[in-house]
Amino acid sequence: MAKIQGAVTVNKERCKGCNLCVVACPTETLSLQPYEVNDRGYHFAFMSNPEACIGCCSCALVCPDACIEVYRVKID
């Protein structure tokens, strides 16, 4: 059966660390950086568990700042 694998990029300087992508993700792929901040002082989102991503776009849809782009591949 074909398997879907996904990945996202986060525009870290645009991110405001609002956490909405983290709670929208059904696979717990994303987290906010616990220590590191961007130039504006926000704990930006990143893929803490990249293997889990299924490329469903939920995170990108709810992101108010259009930081997230989503990629998806089908593996046979």
């Binding site: 694998q5 849809l61 259009a66 990629y71 998806r72």
Partner: protein, 255 residues
């Protein structure tokens, strides 16, 4: 497969909207305005109308919307967006004109303009961001504030005897013969974001087809004004706002 092999242009399934400017938006982290801006930008691009679209921005947190979505804009005085939109559409009828207004703008200071533009059936889209508060000025009570809701001017909660009832202006607009499409949506979950985009698209298509006034209310959060995290604000909205402002189409004339 390695992440680097997945992140390639040919595998991209979601990109930031082309029409959204690179500049950072000034909204608070997690504010619904940003999500709604993305959807407006996508719909204008997908309908191929960017060269003839004119937005009218409000007074309120969305006052700088013209810095974020790359179409033409006019900035209206507080509450007067529907009057400006009327002119922008009547003087140049090929224009596709929309207003983008908060609840203070649309249902407090601008109530007269809102009702009369809709009653005249102006061929415009009214996007109504209802966060039940005056976000920009520091979280004061709005006509849409819920009973019991605490704001900086109702610190013990809104009271009917003192402040009257929450104004459901969208329900009033539905009753007017000039409106062709009146709907209430939200953007707090991925599924709701998709529905709101479809609603906006329909509203813009109505304006192109000159069917009358379309109203898209988006029940929204103002996490700063409500003094909650963005996550909690979404939960609070689903628990409390949807009871007073239920989601769904209020009017959808197909003719």
């Amino acid at each position: 497969m390695d992440i680097e092999d997945i992140i390639k242009p040919e595998n991209k399934v979601y990109a930031a909207p082309e029409l959204l400017e690179e500049v950072n938006m000034h909204y608070c982290p997690g504010c619904s305005h940003g999500v709604i801006h993305k959807l407006v930008a996508e719909v204008i691009s997908e309908l191929g109308i960017v060269e003839r679209t004119v937005g009218v921005s409000p007074v309120g947190c969305a006052v700088f919307a013209y810095n974020y979505i790359d179409c033409d804009w006019i900035e209206a005085a507080h509450g007067r967006a529907p009057a400006i939109a009327t002119a922008a559409n009547r003087l140049w009828p090929e224009n596709v004109v929309f207003t983008y207004q908060g609840d203070g703008d649309m249902s407090a200071i601008g109530t007269a303009e809102t009702i009369h533009a809709a009653n005249r059936g102006e061929n415009i889209v009214m996007i109504f961001v209802n966060n039940a508060i005056y976000g920009m000025t520091g979280g004061q009570m709005a006509p849409t504030t819920l009973i019991g809701q605490k704001t900086s001017t109702s610190p013990y909660g809104r009271r009917v005897d003192l402040n009257g009832h929450p104004l459901e202006i969208t329900n009033l607009l539905k009753e007017l013969d000039g409106t062709c499409y009146v709907t209430r949506q939200s953007v707090h979950t991925p599924a709701n974001v998709r529905k709101t985009k479809a609603a906006l698209k329909k509203a813009f298509m109505n304006a192109i087809a000159k069917k009358g006034t379309s109203v898209v209310e988006v029940v929204s959060t103002c996490n700063s004004g409500w003094k909650m995290t963005p996550e909690k604000a979404n939960e609070w909205m689903a628990q409390h706002m949807f009871e007073k402002y239920p989601l769904g189409d209020l009017k959808n004339s197909e003719s």
